[in-house]
């Protein structure tokens, strides 16, 4: 099982770099196209969450690991930002109309609903670790 290890700045450009690396690695490892696409989505959401809410400063970075095993994609994200569990933050309610639809929290919805499994922990050294497993139904 080949492992991708990557560190990107918590910026829009960093998210793009993470997506490019993931797409290349996961495709070469034989992941289904649908899972590659989901991996790119969650990578962007995690990186942007750290950028927008991590309070880790302008040099914030996100470390990633990715692997394909038995057709499933495993992703691990770590950052040095403030303690934040994206799996327990309240999700926005389903929109009843365009006028009522909130613009926030969509990234959390995507992370939680696109992942088959998700685990968060705050490490003793003060890092956030988010592990996601993506699998086709």
């Amino acid at each position: 099982m080949r492992l991708l290890r990557l560190s990107v700045p918590a910026t829009h450009a960093g998210a793009a770099a993470a997506q490019d690396a993931l797409r290349h690695h996961l495709t070469e490892a034989g992941a289904a196209a649908g899972l590659v696409s989901r991996a790119e989505v969650v990578a962007e959401e995690v990186v942007l969450n750290v950028a927008d809410h991590g309070e880790a400063g302008p040099d914030a970075r996100v470390r990633m690991k990715a692997a394909v095993e038995a057709g499933r994609v495993s992703l691990t994200f770590e950052d040095d930002g403030r303690a934040y569990d994206p799996l327990s933050a309240p999700l926005p309610p389903a929109p009843g109309s365009l006028a009522e639809a909130g613009l926030g929290g969509l990234g959390l919805v995507l992370i939680r609903r696109l992942a088959a499994e998700a685990h968060y922990e705050r490490l003793p050294d003060g890092r956030n670790r988010l592990r996601l497993v993506l699998a086709l139904p």
Binding site: H12, S37, V41, A99, L103, L106
Partner: protein, 113 residues
């Protein structure tokens, strides 16, 4: 991400997006999309057949612009959505509040539905 805007009738614009609606792509067109669609005071048919990726920033742009269009008494309809993009739309229930059609003709029919 590239954007092209064409008038298809006096009250309707066709907006063609080409590329990825990721964070970088959304940044590239955000102002021009809002200006061309949100501020136009016309219906908008948004062709997504050449959009290969979307995430939350891109969805927020579509949502916020659709709201402005609606407040002006017009409609924004998306069409030609690729399967991977549609999966993301369905995950956030976007299709329940912004109409999505299979093609331009069906999208245009939804404007008067």
């Amino acid at each position: 991400m590239r954007m092209d805007v064409r008038e298809v009738s006096p009250d309707t614009n066709l907006v063609i997006l080409d590329g990825r609606l990721d964070a970088v792509g959304t940044d590239a067109i955000s102002l021009s999309f809002t200006a061309a669609v949100g501020a136009a005071g016309r219906h908008a048919l948004v062709d997504l057949s050449r959009v290969t990726f979307v995430a939350s920033l891109g969805i927020r742009l579509l949502l916020s612009t659709a709201r402005v269009v609606e407040r002006k008494g017009c409609r924004m309809v998306l069409f030609g959505v690729q399967p991977a993009v549609l999966e993301v739309f369905d995950t956030v229930a976007l299709t329940t509040i912004i109409p999505v059609a299979a093609d331009q003709a069906a999208a245009r029919a939804l404007l008067t539905a």
